[in-house]
């Protein structure tokens, strides 16, 4: 019924009061654009986190004792021994692709007059294969014979090579470090690079990263507080982690939940959950401004109804039914807020795009959010337009015609 005529009528009314219509829309524009900008920024951040985790392998996992259950600190018997690791590998041959005690060491070093500090991580033979974002620039990664023979080798990052040796290709150079109280001369067998990551700034570190064969870092019988795994990435990581933990706890004769696991996936889920909650909370605050915008529409529609009382009377005298008048004003308020919604969406997407381009992050815009935002703004228009429209529709034609 008269929908097309009412839309034309609404557009004429909006056009004839440009400034007022714009100011009315502004509330909706601000509300919608902030909701869209915030959710897009949240989604973009999630996308970045996902990429980041993928780059170093979503199948990365650590098993270690649950600190809350070790009353007096970690005891000798709680540590994970090389036998435990072998047992795990034997029990899950399909699912554990890499398992090495999680050992590391820090040491100062000096090359000529240049001082530096190394943060060394013990790795197994295939580490380079699993750590996907690591690229060898010169030489090679720690290999089987390094690990098997416990050779004094080291793979250093490009920054260390440049600073200590003044060249990128430092293969063949020697670095003196102290490991477990013992002085060792390590031969550089490779130089690697890891693309800069979002987390670089999170882990502020003065030291250079380096990889060494894990046997040279272990103490005593080779037990460690944790074991680093790379798992079958085709399987559900949480399910795998639970199985590993259950088995490990059993062979160590501990309570079933004595050991716990931490996977890249579970970390990502946690971070995403935080990001999601955060953008939802801020988005909800932004949504309040939509309600404020709706009240603005209601206010201006009430003014408009009063101004056009006589016009309403004329229309009624010419045969307009109550519903015709109701629809006329309802459609007008819906169009105002829908236009506001479209402008707000454009603005919100633009804000997100500009913001993300400063942060050099790919913009992720969920089309669902846009549909939701524009739909919601039309509903706001309808809801807040209903009262003024009903007021208009119920006017007594004679009173309305007499209105000056």
């Amino acid at each position: 019924m008269l929908v097309f005529e009412n839309i034309m009528l609404a557009l004429t009314a909006i056009k004839s009061n440009k400034m007022r219509s714009f100011l009315t829309m502004l509330g909706i524009i601000i509300g919608i654009s902030s909701v869209i900008a915030i959710t897009s920024i949240g989604d973009s951040a999630k996308g970045v986190v996902g990429k980041e985790f993928e780059s170093f392998g979503m199948n990365n996992m650590y098993l270690y004792p649950n600190w809350e259950l070790t009353q007096d600190g970690v005891e000798e018997s709680d540590l994970i021994t090389p036998e435990d690791i072998e047992a795990l590998k034997a029990r899950f041959p399909e699912d554990i692709l890499y398992a090495v005690p999680n050992v590391s060491a820090n040491s100062d070093t000096k090359v000529g007059r240049v001082e530096g500090k190394f943060s060394m991580t013990g790795v197994g033979a295939d580490y380079g294969k699993f750590k996907k974002n690591l690229s060898i620039l010169h030489g090679r990664m720690i290999n089987k014979s390094d690990v098997a023979g416990g050779k004094d080798t080291i793979v250093i990052e490009k920054k260390a090579a440049m600073n200590l040796f003044n060249k990128e290709n430092a293969v063949g150079e020697t670095i003196s470090v102290v490991i477990n109280g013992e002085m060792k001369d390590l031969t550089v067998v490779g130089v690697y690079e890891v693309p800069s990551s979002l987390f670089d700034s999170m882990f502020m570190s003065q030291s250079y990263s380096a990889y060494v064969p894990y046997p040279i870092l272990v103490v005593g019988d080779g037990s460690a507080w944790a074991v680093e795994l790379y798992t079958n990435e085709k399987k559900d990581q949480a399910a795998l982690g639970n199985e590993f933990v259950k088995y490990l706890s059993r062979i160590k004769d501990k309570a079933p939940n004595f050991y716990i696991f931490e996977s890249a996936e579970s970390q990502m889920t946690t971070i995403n959950k935080v990001l999601g909650t955060l953008s939802l909370a801020i988005g909800a605050i932004a949504a309040i401004s939509l309600v404020v915008g709706g009240i603005g529409i209601m206010n201006i529609m009430l003014v408009s109804v009063t101004e056009r009382t006589r016009e309403i009377g004329i229309r009624k005298s010419l045969g307009a039914r109550t519903n015709d008048i109701l629809m006329q004003f309802l459609i007008e308020s819906m169009i105002i807020s829908a236009i506001g919604g479209v402008i707000g969406t454009t603005l919100g997407v633009a804000i997100a795009a500009v913001g993300m381009s400063f942060a050099k992050i790919a913009v992720v815009i969920d089309p669902k959010v846009i549909v939701l935002a524009v739909g919601f703004s039309a509903i706001v228009g309808m809801f807040f337009g209903l009262y003024p429209a009903r007021k208009a529709a119920k006017l007594d034609p004679i009173e309305a015609l007499r209105y000056e």
Binding site: S16, E311, I314, K316, L318, G319, T322
Partner: protein, 235 residues
């Protein structure tokens, strides 16, 4: 043999202003035949405008009956009354009541929009109606670009949009100079004589009333005189 298009029996309209009750119409009986040209006279507050509003289905009487083409209008719903206003009655007002910021053409189209007539047919008929009142070249002018007489002619064209049988005009010349008044009255006369419309005009000017065939005079909510100015009823 003439057809009774409007028949009013014992119609009373009381305005309840809270403290006092004002009887605007006091048990009126009135019969109007199809094709009559009538003026209703009286001082302000005499009840003539109240009668006009009820005749135009804009208002309902407190009691009494109003038969429009034999149907009791009091029993109709609000939406049905809207349809009656749309199809059977054409209104012309003293202050023209054109919708501002809307062209003459669109104003004339308005009753047809509510009558659900298609856009093309609407426009065609609106242009023809404007041509008939001599405003073919003004169809795209806004009301504020038209003179009083022109506005009233647009209003008459609009009143005729859905080909109503009855034209109700409330002081149609009240805001016009004497020359425009005569022109407007001539249009009404034409409508009555040529098209056979029943034309009812409310006025307080005797010389305007002289154009019509029958003058009904109101005072204090009563009809005090109902006279024929010339021989009628020969149809």
């Amino acid at each position: 043999m003439t057809h009774e298009i409007i028949k009013i029996e014992g119609m009373t309209k009381v305005y309840d202003t809270g403290e006092i009750q004002v009887a605007a119409l006091n048990s009126i009986d009135l019969t109007i035949h199809k094709g009559e040209f009538i003026s209703i006279m009286g001082a302000s507050g005499s009840g003539k405008s109240t009668l006009m509003n009820i005749l135009g289905c804009l208002d309902r009487p407190t009691s009494g009956h109003y038969y429009l083409e034999g149907v009791d209008v009091m029993e109709k719903s609000d939406n049905e009354l809207s349809a009656v206003r749309n199809k059977k009655i054409g209104f012309v007002f003293q202050s023209f009541n054109l919708i501002s910021r809307t062209s003459a053409l669109k104003n004339v189209e308005l009753p047809m929009i509510y009558g659900k007539i298609g856009a093309e047919e609407r426009k065609e008929r609106a242009l023809e109606l404007l041509k008939n009142v001599g405003l073919a070249d003004r169809s795209h002018h806004m009301p504020n670009e038209l003179s009083g007489g022109q506005k009233q002619r647009v209003a008459i064209a609009r009143a005729l949009a859905n080909k109503p049988q009855i034209i109700l005009a409330d002081e149609p010349t009240g805001n016009l100079d004497s020359q425009s008044s005569v022109e407007i009255m001539e249009i009404f006369t034409q409508l009555n004589r040529k098209e056979g419309n029943t034309v009812i005009i409310v006025t307080h000017e005797r010389d305007i009333a002289e154009f019509t065939d029958r003058i009904i005079t109101f005072k204090d909510g009563n009809i005090i005189r109902d006279e024929y100015t010339r021989e009628v009823g020969q149809c």
